[in-house]
Symmetry: C2
Subunit: 355 residues, 2 copies
């Protein structure tokens, strides 16, 4: 099966990760390689968290989390207090909102340009900063609907100008494309193991500027080595073994990002030739793409399987990953899929439209 599901293409395990999965599948077997769960007791994990990941993310300090949403909550819960405002982009994932609500924060949104490009103009943050005095600003880079990459660097300059902590949610970038927190001027960067780092879930990475060390890594009064915000340790479980096992390949694959972008642009053009319009930024700069498919929608109105026809037709052809029931609007990802297979996907869409 060719899998086009955007939340799956970046999380397919490498061979090394599959081996690690089996080796460290049992509940707490990560203990087998370490006598305890303190970072200093786990040489393999310590090197990964204290050296490899900070370099990879362009961050001073990195912590593993239980996912991108948990990382967002941890930052919000530590940096802000209930009642504070957080300014986010209008394309943000829904968990940005639930994390803010869990932390008791007021969510202010920067609106996108709407159809067809749904662009976020980061300059729009400035006016909202002046009006709402936020305790945090957040940018989704890229967002998970349109795969748009807003100008994160300019937002870094705005954050600096107003001295507001700046969090970059890179769940769809960290592990797919090169990204440096410091270059973009962010205080925090978040990645997702299962979304973009060829890892089993749930696991996330949280990079931060060292100036947040005291606040983010504040220690327990009773257990002076334990970090409160991370409940002592987030190093449990099988996912961390897969994340470490895949990392050497992930580090390599981001170097081929240009090819992924080229492939996505070509795919978008071929889809448009079929009357299926790509929404979001053009020319596109990410493998995650959103399509508006009026011709498929028209077929669904008359097809005996109704709006589920596309799902079944693609499945028959060995293609999966577009949400069942969608025909007019859907998203997909071309990440890591060879060009000849994408050619086959295009041909399949053509056949479906023609018959």
């Amino acid at each position: 099966m060719i899998n086009l599901n955007p939340i799956q293409t970046g999380g397919i395990l490498t061979k090394a990760a599959k081996r690690a999965l089996i080796e460290f599948g049992d509940g707490y077997s990560v203990y087998d390689i370490s006598p305890g769960l303190e970072l200093e007791e786990m040489p393999a994990i310590r090197e990964f968290v204290s050296e490899l990941l900070p370099k990879f993310l362009g961050a001073d300090i990195v912590r593993l989390t239980l996912g991108a949403r948990e990382a967002m909550f941890s930052v919000m819960h530590s940096v802000a207090k209930p009642g504070d405002a957080v300014i986010v982009d209008g394309n943000r994932h829904y968990t940005t909102v639930t994390a803010a609500e869990r932390a008791g924060l007021k969510v202010i949104e920067v609106r996108s340009s709407g159809e067809p490009e749904y662009k976020i103009d980061v300059n729009d943050y400035e006016d909202l900063i002046k009006r709402h005095n936020p305790r945090l600003i957040l940018l989704t880079y890229p967002d998970g609907n349109y795969g748009n990459l807003p100008d994160a660097k300019t937002l870094g300059q705005i954050a600096k100008k107003y001295n507001i902590p700046y969090l970059l949610n890179g769940a769809y970038s960290v592990g797919r494309m090169p990204i440096s927190m410091k270059e973009l001027g962010a205080d925090f960067v978040i990645g997702s193991g299962q979304k973009s780092m060829a890892s089993s879930g749930p696991i996330g990475v949280l990079g931060m500027n060292k100036k947040w060390k005291k606040i983010m890594l504040r220690k327990s009064k009773m257990y002076p080595k334990k970090e409160i915000e991370f409940l002592g340790s987030e190093l449990r479980g099988t996912a961390v073994a897969t994340l470490i096992a895949s990392f050497p390949e992930v580090k390599e694959r981001i170097k081929k990002w240009n090819k992924e972008v080229k492939k996505a642009r070509w795919f978008s053009k071929e889809m448009e030739k079929l009357g299926i319009k790509q929404m979001g930024e053009k020319p596109h700069r990410h493998d995650l793409m959103f399509f508006k498919a009026d011709p498929l929608y028209k077929i669904s109105l008359k097809h005996p399987k109704g709006r589920f026809f596309l799902y079944y037709e693609l499945k028959k052809k060995g293609i999966t990953g577009i949400k069942p029931g969608l025909t007019k609007y859907f998203k997909l990802s071309t990440f890591g899929i060879p060009e000849e297979k994408l050619r086959y996907v295009i041909d399949s869409f053509r056949e479906i439209l023609e018959t």
Copy 2:
């Protein structure tokens, strides 16, 4: 290798879980069996969470969490507010404290009886309740050091008398022994997939009384289906697939709990014959046991490998799970280990003492 590590014996995957691990290893592949992450969109997970688990735990409602510590934090964060007091047993896991600190709560401890039994008298909660007016009481059942099982049912009556929410941390009981939240009179019960439910981590289960539904399952204003405290969904990842796959066997194994207790008591007696004293409740009622081994400590003082000698000697004999460097005090678990293997462990300790 015979593995005596208390945090590992209950988390060894069943064959079904190993198959699930491989099948659902890729990042978000749990999506393959569901079109979305809403409970109602995932028939297999819905049945598990909405029907099987509540019955198993004696709870009205169950939610999956990212671990026992996250479940404790979720309850504390929802039920109490910063500055409130929580009364906990003195044998509690350290994450009870970090979770309370993360939620801004004041931790009051019920002291144990100390050496040798380290018992918690739940009647001691009553005086502290009167003095501190807590917003929550918590009992670890059993604790992870001595494997003591305090009188959870009497504490349920005390909780009811003072109308205080009562949380039972069953990380070492749920999945090992029969446990019913309702029978014990608790408002919440927590289990750990990787510790005691033959699952990969990180995953936990949180059972609750339906009277907490409004507070615990409060919804997002912007996304009325999404539960804020759980950040929308905790169903991501590979661990849930292993938890579900192992569940039929876990449900069966708790029926053999009497045999596990009998085996543990026999093991304790055999160790005592060697001069290695079992601390904690006697007669013991759990597979997790804490030992004080003066004879081994004496050897370590003169042994060229020092305090690491026991670890290496046991390893040579194919026995693992006692923390390297410990000789005088250590804990171990006999859960799921056949009697003839435990006999071999006893013989090995004897040989180590004799040579």
